[in-house]
Symmetry: C3
Subunit: 339 residues, 3 copies
């Protein structure tokens, strides 16, 4: 099995392997494009540096490598690996662990194990979900990371330094203010939070990366972030949370997925995506409440759940027969620039 | 897409459309019969009026229309719509929202959105569950409403006025008394709680409606309610909860489903239904405990879960090959009077 | 339907029926071997006697009989029954109820009902999971018992005497010491906890029983228990819990399942099993935290969930096409001695 990894490294050369890693970063937002991935990683480094926790960026690289290498070690179908589909769950694990846990030896071991695990959990879930013609999206990252975050409450070697203690949900008064002239910052932060980064500069870098692969995707990332802010504000959600993008990151992914990846951009798919964005905000709030008594966070689960609920009806919004179990191979419907 | 709705309205005329709406009400208890639906709606109005919250009844009508119209707008297969299968989740959403939330502008917007959502969530879940040869029942209502009730804890525009605050479950002493001569009232209230109404008169109206379509269904509604009361009482559950029908509404639906809809009435299916009723009561108590820390209610989930567990073994209790993925079309096995 | 049971009893004679029951006990650890089952039951009696709660052993026998008889009553495919696959969930229910609940009349009624229920819940879940080519394992026991334990919080007739009250999880300091010279005891207790027994003698008896059917299975039970102890200790989990086998019982089952039942023993499957054991420990801690606010225990759910995640990728680790939906019939891959 280890042969596969060696072959991959030597056949394609270091550059070829690097490109696969970068595509893995890009696939977090459905773009199998190495340049997109490069901008994403630069954005992560910037955000990690600014928040004085560079471990988030190193973790991202380590997670990306661990999950990608695992695909080769397990001899999974190489097509997936080549398109970066082994990497996107791992890089998110790598961002999450140093964000929520202290910098201990066992945190790094756990990060590598958890990132590797996402690769076979993805195989497991896709095998299951193919039956319903949908894909597991980032849920392998969500499920694997939830397991480790929950376990950390009972395992002091994984020190949860930066996550709220379990508590019962209570009616929260909205409080705080949203300033209209900061709206652009809120929108960009919402996009940067897809990788758990809270920085408008990073959001800008992510947008540039997206636009290199697909301008539709970049546009819908903005629409998703903006509409999620309005929806959350209208319903009176915490201004603090809204302004830091915590109601937006899942909505950004829902928007890209529905409007540009699984349906061709059109009036119909646009309306469907707008409804999906609104629903994602409600699901986000709902899951925030559900997670409180056990002291973990939703990660991108609201995106996964909402998008499943919008894709599984298999609505025929364009001329193709709906089958949403995959997005690479047939090429993203908005024609991603491959690189 | 909007064309479908217009065609439906004009082709069938207002009366035709009204009949579809009424069947939608009837399908909450598996009866695609407009007269049944009419009695159900009269029952809802009576109960809402008596509890001084007519918004529950207006909400029911609004939810029914929203979810039915959504089926046309999404161009879903018309057969389902014609049989009232787009309406029954929506009318339940419409009963639930004004029951648990204050009368605010956003509550009504959320009600319309959530009711509409049940229609495509139903498509999504049925697409998934067809693989196991079962149907999603009222779970689209349960899932969508749970999402909004949970979210409301963090969204003050949806004010949860009438739902217990989250708390840790604790061993509850039974307390209170059940009076034997009130048994008929308890049974009828258990039936009325299917629509979240707490009124024995409403229960009576529901029974009449049921009997118009199927006397077996009416009989089993009574059996389900009565046996659930005895089971809960024997196990020492709260007399307060029992007497207001809170252990019965799911059991009523389980009884009708197993004994009359998915199996033909017979000795075997009767025994199976009796076991199902008892199991539903245990699942009801279990889910009450599970929901406490997050401050929501079970809705009809105990019915859905128990009935899945009793139908998915695909036991052959009569001569037909068991496939429980649908109940209209082949006609309810106890021969519903269509109207 | 009752005919089936009578035929079974008379055709095979009492000895034949006893053998089926004993195989049911053995199948808890995947061994359809009556001698294995006999040693398991002796082990249960020893453990129950030593902890002064013989009801656990009587419950085990009662649960075993109830769930096995139910298979005949429901006319399920006899092949399963003959191999003991109707019994293993029931015997676990029978161990769990007297362990967690007081000795009341309704506890025994509930035990019989719950054990019977596992038989059709198994049919239901296997029908569903066959689609993904995996088996429900002990999850019918887990799900049915969870329902009753949760419900018991609201039903005083089922008195939860021996289970922690619901509480919010908090960061627990490890505390306590693990003594190296007690390691063998810890390992054996981990194996005995598969049946909720806390006794190293019982663990020894279980090992002998396992070895009679498959020495590979016995070996991997030891490896699973030992590695789970090291993993939990390295991550700083409570020494108290570790020493009583609470991090090991699920890992023991994962080890046997992956290394000997669903894959042939080999270097590849051994590595896969070792990873599975480590993952099971993390999932165990995670689920402990999840269950706290609702006051129930994980039972063997961590084994089920982890093993699904390791089997559902359908990795081809030996020459056979991976299909993990069943383990009897084709015979366990490590060639169980049948009896």
């Amino acid at each position: 099995m280890a042969n596969n990894l060696q072959t991959a490294l030597f056949d394609r050369g270091l550059i070829g392997f690097l490109r696969i890693l970068l595509r893995g970063a890009g696939q977090v937002m459905f773009q199998g494009n190495a340049w997109t991935g490069l901008f994403f990683i630069v954005g992560i480094f910037w955000g990690a540096y600014m928040s004085d926790n560079l471990n988030v960026a190193w973790g991202a690289l380590l997670g990306l490598m661990s999950s990608t290498a695992t695909g080769y070690l397990l001899s999974l179908p190489e097509k997936d690996g080549h398109d970066g589909l082994w990497g996107f769950n791992g890089i998110l694990v790598g961002c999450a662990f140093p964000t929520f846990m202290s910098n201990t030896f066992w945190m790094w071991i756990a990060l590598i194990f958890c990132a590797a695990m996402t690769t076979w959990v993805r195989s497991a879930l896709n095998n299951m979900m193919r039956t319903y013609k949908v894909n597991s999206f980032t849920f392998p990252f969500v499920l694997s990371t939830w397991i480790f975050l929950l376990a950390a409450h009972l395992m002091p070697a994984l020190d949860l330094s930066n996550i709220s203690a379990p508590e019962l949900p209570s009616h929260i008064t909205s409080g705080g203010y949203l300033y209209f002239h900061d709206l652009v910052q809120y929108i960009l932060r919402g996009i940067s939070q897809v990788f758990l980064i809270d920085s408008w500069v990073t959001g800008m870098l992510f947008l540039i990366g997206l636009a290199l692969a697909s301008s539709w995707a970049a546009l819908w990332a903005i629409v998703g972030s903006a509409l999620s802010i309005f929806t959350a504000a209208a319903l009176g959600a915490s201004a603090e949370h809204i302004s830091h993008g915590l109601y937006s990151f899942s909505a950004v992914l829902t928007a890209i997925a529905i409007a540009t990846v699984f349906y061709k951009p059109s009036l119909r798919s646009a309306i469907w995506a707008l409804l999906g964005i609104i629903a994602t905000v409600i699901v986000q709030a709902a899951m925030n409440v559900m997670m409180m008594p056990v002291g973990i966070v939703t990660l991108t689960a609201p995106f996964c759940i909402t998008t499943w609920l919008f894709l599984m009806p298999l609505l025929k919004l364009d001329k193709e027969e709906p089958d949403h179990s995959d997005w690479h191979g047939k090429g993203s419907k908005s024609r991603v620039q491959k690189s």
